[in-house]
């Protein structure tokens, strides 16, 4: 995977588009298998996710957490690290945010809400710092450790949500957060909330951080060539740890948004694989903040449309999961799409 400078080249924009088309084509085969009409299914899928204010709001709402996890994965990747622990990070982040959200009563919103958000980010960052530290100090590959920590995060939050922070009712969830910790809804009835604004701010901040600050320069230098970075006086380990911490903090925002903006409480295992989808989003968005935005919107649209497709056609909704997996494969197989595009050009 070759990374470019701060702007995306036309090829980097074209490959994802071709990949999405390929994935939809293969998905059509699955639709045909179940004896349905692919065109009709896709029409339902996209008209219910991209047409009309409500649909767009729903799509954006679903895109919001994916922007965070996508940014998280992309950010770590810029430092040469593969963070597949976004799922675990968002769980601990969400848990921390909810704890703050339920405990500190009597605070004004301007203090309580940021406090909850920051608590979540801190928890996610600390969680991610462990694989970061192990990589930086002991050279242990972060992929395995982030996977392992996902599971540890599941069990830890399982314990917290049914134990010390159980909401007291007979459901595996915490108490409701106080209204002062809620992310306000933007376009009711849609669950789109101010989280999307934080997400867009995060996109801009990540962009500026990576390409306009000296810290971003160092992170990217370590990502491209750690030995040369070291030669240039840049600490590999400090930057790796920092990148993981930031990545974890970004990932945790996905959980924070879900909790403070959508569910209003921590529900055991609430995330529909948002962290893993973040890998796909980062990949599809070419590890670029702007690319991440569009990729997240596409995935948000797919999920939104899937619900409608499930309701209105007989195509099982898992089709969309299959399509998402295919998109990941095709985007990653740059060489395949490149060959296809070249053949077209020749023809």
């Amino acid at each position: 995977m070759k990374l470019e400078q701060s702007s995306l080249t036309s090829r980097e924009i074209l490959t994802p588009i071709v990949s999405v088309i390929l994935a939809l084509l293969v998905g059509a085969i699955f639709i045909l298998i179940v004896g349905e009409n692919p065109i009709e299914a896709y029409r339902v899928l996209f008209s219910n996710s991209l047409v009309g204010m409500d649909s767009i709001a729903a799509t954006l709402q679903r895109a919001t957490p994916l922007i965070f996890t996508g940014l998280a994965v992309a950010f770590a990747f810029r430092c040469g690290l593969f963070n597949i622990g976004a799922e675990g990070q968002l769980y601990v982040g969400a848990m921390a945010a909810v704890i703050v959200g339920i405990t500190f009563s009597g605070l004004p919103k301007v203090i309580h809400l940021p406090m909850a958000v920051l608590a979540g980010m801190a928890a996610g960052g600390i969680w991610a710092s462990v694989p970061g530290l192990l990589k930086a100090k002991l050279g242990v590959h972060e992929v395995i450790n982030t996977i392992m920590m996902n599971f540890i995060a599941y069990f830890l939050t399982d314990y917290l949500v049914t134990g010390p922070f159980h909401g007291g009712r007979w459901t595996p969830e915490t108490a409701r957060i106080l209204p002062t910790a809620e992310l306000s809804r933007l376009l009711p009835p849609s669950r789109l909330n101010t989280g999307i604004i934080i997400a867009i701010a995060a996109i801009i901040i990540v962009y500026i951080f990576l390409w306009r600050t000296r810290l971003g320069y160092e992170i990217r230098a370590v990502g491209f060539n750690p030995t040369a970075a070291e030669y240039g006086g840049i600490s590999i380990s400090r930057n790796m740890i920092m990148a993981m911490v930031f990545s974890g903090a970004l990932a945790s925002l996905a959980g924070v948004e879900q909790i403070l903006g959508v569910h209003g409480r921590f529900i055991q295992r609430f995330s529909p694989d948002l962290g893993f989808m973040g890998i796909a989003v980062a990949l599809l968005g070419k590890n670029h903040p702007v690319g991440v935005f569009f990729a997240a919107v596409l995935f948000g649209a797919l999920r939104t449309g899937a619900a409608a497709m499930d309701r209105l056609t007989d195509v099982p909704r898992e089709l969309v999961v299959i399509i998402q997996a295919l998109i990941i494969m095709f985007v990653a197989a740059e060489e395949l799409t490149r060959r296809l595009m070249q053949r077209r050009r020749r023809a």
Binding site: I33, F82, I84, L134, F151, A280, I322, I328
Partner: protein
Amino acid sequence: MWDYLVYFVNATVLAAALRMATPLILTSMGGIFAERSGVINIGLEGMMLVGAFTGMLTSYFTGQPWLGLIGALLAGALMGLVHAVASVTYKVNQVVSGTAINIFAGGVTVFLLRWIFDVAGTSPAVSRLPVVTIPLINRIPLIGPIFGTHNIMVYMALIIVVLVHIFLFRTVWGLRLRSVGEHPKAADTVGINVFLTRYLAVIVSGAMAGLGGAYLSIAHLSRFGDQMTAGRGFIALAAMIFGKWTPFGALGASLLFGFANAVQMRLQELGIPSQFVQMVPYILTMVALAGFIGRATPPKAIGKPYEKE
């Protein structure tokens, strides 16, 4: 005190440990194949799931669990092939490819479950592989209760470990496989086909994971359930690492994790939240990788696609 200990560690607990270790053993052998050839396989979980599903499906339609086993093997192999095409030929990042396979497997099994059986959760019951009793072992005190009677796949798994060990360290192909995972170019220069070796290794890896899944759906149990692998593919990965990429090491780690789980079932009585026990394999793996239990060093060329020119 002794009684107390015997309550937690006894033949029945150890037999349960062996049963629970079996899918991990099979799948971790699959992990060894792929990773020893230089290809990371975090898609084991998905390959297992597809194996479990296909095992059930084949057994359902044919009534023959042995055919189910072959079906699972082939389906796992097919997933392996997909991983090989992506990561060997198209040089897709191996972690990405594995992640895609996991997501795909979760989707496609339920997709088919719904289409074929019109359910999303659990398949109908199917016939499963026999439980056998080994005549002599059966009568040895202590050993008998632990090893004497099990599903036939439990024994298969143990035999496979020995076979994988012999394959890796005693045969020509094993030597070649290991060399490809350490230094593919060196292997290439002595006439070993790196691509073919990796293809075969990853296909076998998928087949093994498929067997691991089949153990769940047509040996230990007799039905498929959505996400029934429940993270066992990842634990198998952990077992492989904890076992330092060797068959007996992975066997030992699988047994340890199986044992932890079996004991955990009894420890629950002491009021230890089960969540903390469930974390154990993952924490142990991190500790092992960090070098506190002797350094676990992966094959050198792991994760790097081979470029011929």
